[in-house]
Amino acid sequence: MTASQTLQRPGPPPAPGQADARIPAVPPRRSRRPVALIAASLAVACVLALPLVFLLIEARGAGTAAVAHLIFRRLTADLLWNTVRLTVVVTALCAVIGTAAAWCVERTNLPGRRVWAVLVVVPLAIPDFVVSFGWASLWTWVQGFRGAVVVMTLAVYPLVYLPVAASLRAADPGQEEVARSLGVGRVRTFARVTLAQARGAILGGCLLVAMVLLAEYGAFEILGYQTFTTEIFTEFNVSFSIPAACALSLVLVLLSLLVLAGEGMLRGRGRVTRGGPLAARRMPPHRLGRATLPVLAGFAALTALALGVPVGASVYWIFEGGAHAIGGVSLSAAALHTAMYGIGAGILDTAAALPIALLVLRHPGRLRLLLERSTYLVLAMPGVVAAFALSYFAERYANGFLYQSAPLLVVCYAIMFFPLALVGVKASLSRAPASLDEMARSLGQRRLAVLWRVTLRLAGPGLAAAFCLVFLSVVTELTATLLLVPTGVQTLATQFWAYETNLSYGQAAPFALVMIAVAAVPSYVLGRFFDRSAHAQT
């Protein structure tokens, strides 16, 4: 120790001229820039920026004064209040429920943990508007703010649960033991160590929740709750008042910018580091003891409310409205279309997220990080804006060639759900550390061979998870689908919506159930993926 200290101590300072002579006069050589990656990332970012570009072009066309007039009015203030209070309340509730559930499943001896781990995630497969339909069709008190809080919390809390569970699994449980050995009690250890470990994941989950809330349309339409997004949809689709919709969209984008910036600030410099990969070790789970029964009851209640009510309501309406003939052909045709669109968007997104994820993980830089963060703005773009942007471009620059065509719809989905794919792809790539790539290259493998033989092999399961995330988002998407679906084609969501708005609950219900079934498969795969990654850690 002393030896190394003395050696580090700078020796007698050399003569000034001598020191200068050693500093090279030539500018430092740069390592090769990842040109291909940067080009691909920029291309992806440009496509993602299309909705915003459309928004600005339209707003410019309408004139600054007109837009300002449309923004500064009573309606905007009401919408702002509605949107903000709902976002704050639901995000907070989701953070508490999602984190508590994740901790119980990952760190305690809760009976039936494997089963709960799946059941808790499955609500992600139920479209928000189906949850909304389930509650509102059974009980009339479920409407307005109160209804929106209940429905949205139950619909989106898995967005917090999933990342928190994953991070709790990856975090070093030894830190908790160290805290306890330093004389810190159980509760304070939870607050100071466990929550700190999961902090980034909680914030990331909350960001997703807030963004979903800002962009939700169907659920609020059923509940009669007015937010920016529902109003924008009405202005676009019913009143055909493009300038008004653009003005409101601008405010909504600003709001999401604030959310993004807030999350970035809260996240701060808190990075979770862990010891060497060899040190991974499973800690004996916390014993729930007397709390076992209440906690079990809590999980049962959560499952009943988030899963039981929507599914139960759908089953109930099938029998209640049994007189209607169920169109078997239309159901399978709708399911097929939905699945095709989902697969297309999933593949497109996973492929598009790869270059950006590789860029920020392997060649980080301020501008590159900004590029990556900018793609999250897409989440705040209501589906309706993305849909209109693409049809606008198709009409304007492709002579309406692609308007209301399947490729356009798939691209629209891909834009909307890109951030989900990016999160998944980044998580999967971080399992393929750069050191292994370097190792492979020093063993004589070229870049592409390394990508194929090492990076993609290690990241494979995570890439599949990213694909699943996009797929199930497409299955449960309504707004953009309503606007862009090719003429004469029905997806599960649009057909459900047609029946639902018609109050034909009995005919709507089967579509809801099939949607849940189709989306449940990828959610199950997702759950298994996160479960398996835990076992790979041990």
Partner: protein, 377 residues
């Protein structure tokens, strides 16, 4: 023949210079240790050699061709350099055999060469296991086999033994040494452990402040360190004050003969004829094993006050401060009696009775020693 030549290598990360004009030559077939404390730029040097980083200035030449220079940069995959990182970095999705065969052309990946290599590193029969089923030492052996499989020009070992247990470290180290000698591959071993460097390598290069300050055979490095800091870094050292004489130096341990090889480098006048009169204060290196220690009977000798005389066969009395028992030897710190503020003297003894703190002892030093004149202030 020289396998690797590095000249004037600079590398900075942002404003933080790491390598500042590093020169190094590594003979073909040798095992050279790069020894330096953590943060001295060892890993950066290896990463530049492997091609993962580019130097800011300077050149790296391997086997006569420039791989990193003002106009050239050879990609890592074309350098034929085997790299064994500290943590092994085995591919977790591949079996041991597939890991070893990773860098080979597809047809040879399942050939007998893999089994031979596994046999050579003492892991015969484990080819079908996965990395997580191996112990740390086994993982290191696989990483070495994988690096050797591509028949590299040079193998870079980045603190490969740091994560191993003491007993495991010795055996893995010996195996690595034997294997490199057998295959004749040039090896570069990076370490912060001077024992490891001295016992494993043919040559040891000391890295300090981004430069190689000395590169010698282990024995030469230990016996003739270039300056006091290196002396202290390579093994235990007593660095005591002294006053230079013609070919002796006067210290609290008496008048000690100066190593003849060291005389040349002492001022005034390099290469001065024997008998040149020297003077002035100096720092003197006395290794702990150069000092004999005798236990006194309790109270038999009163402490000698003041600066002792400088006659030829001087003895220094003191008291034991601490006694560190290491089995094969013991390291004893002794506080000289004449000055309680003086630095303690380190003595290494073989056997002898255990001495409690406070026990009176007598020290007697044997030359020759090294001395460096103090910079005039």
């Amino acid at each position: 023949m020289t396998q690797l030549v590095v000249t004037g290598l600079h590398k900075a990360f942002g404003d933080h210079p790491v390598l500042t004009g590093l020169d190094l030559e590594v003979p073909a077939g040798s095992l050279t240790a790069i020894l330096g404390p953590s943060g001295s730029g060892k890993t950066t040097l290896l990463r530049v050699l492997a091609g993962f980083e580019r130097g800011d200035a300077g050149t790296v030449t391997i086997g006569g061709s420039v791989v990193d220079g003002p106009d050239a940069h050879l990609a890592p995959e074309r350098r034929q350099i085997g790299y064994v990182p500290q943590e092994g970095s085995l591919f977790p999705h591949l079996t041991v055999a597939a890991n070893v065969g990773f860098g080979l052309p597809p047809r040879q990946r399942k050939g007998p060469a893999i089994a031979e290599l596994l046999d050579a590193v003492g892991l015969a029969g484990l080819g079908k296991r996965y990395p997580h089923q191996l112990s740390g030492g086994q993982q290191q052996r696989v990483a070495l086999a994988r690096a050797l499989a591509i028949q590299p020009k040079i193998v870079l070992l980045d603190e490969p033994f740091a994560s191993l247990d003491a007993h495991l470290r010795a055996s893995v180290r010996a195996d690595v040494q034997a294997l490199l000698a057998e295959t004749g591959v040039t090896g570069i071993l990076v370490t912060h452990d001077q024992d490891e460097a001295l016992s494993t390598a043919d040559r040891v290069a000391v890295l300090r402040d981004g430069r190689i300050v000395q590169c010698d055979a282990p024995q030469d490095l230990y016996d003739r360190p270039a300056d006091a800091d290196i002396a202290r870094f390579i093994g235990d050292a007593n660095l005591i004050e002294g006053v230079l004489g013609t070919d002796t130096v006067d210290t609290i341990l008496g008048r000690l003969r100066i190593e003849p090889a060291c005389l040349d480098s002492l001022g005034p006048g390099n290469g001065a004829a024997p008998g040149t009169v020297r003077s002035g204060p100096a720092t003197v290196l006395v290794r702990p094993e150069q000092i004999e220690l005798h236990a006194d009977d309790a109270g038999a000798r009163p402490p000698t006050p003041g600066w002792p005389g400088v006659d030829g066969d001087h003895e220094l009395s003191g008291r034991v401060v601490s006694y560190g028992y290491h089995g094969h030897d013991a390291v004893i710190h002794v506080q000289p009696d004449h000055d309680s503020a003086a630095p303690t003297i380190i003595v290494r003894t073989l056997g002898g009775p255990q001495l409690p703190p406070g026990a009176p002892v007598t020290l007697h030093a044997r030359g020759p020693v090294l001395a460096w004149p103090d910079a005039s202030t």
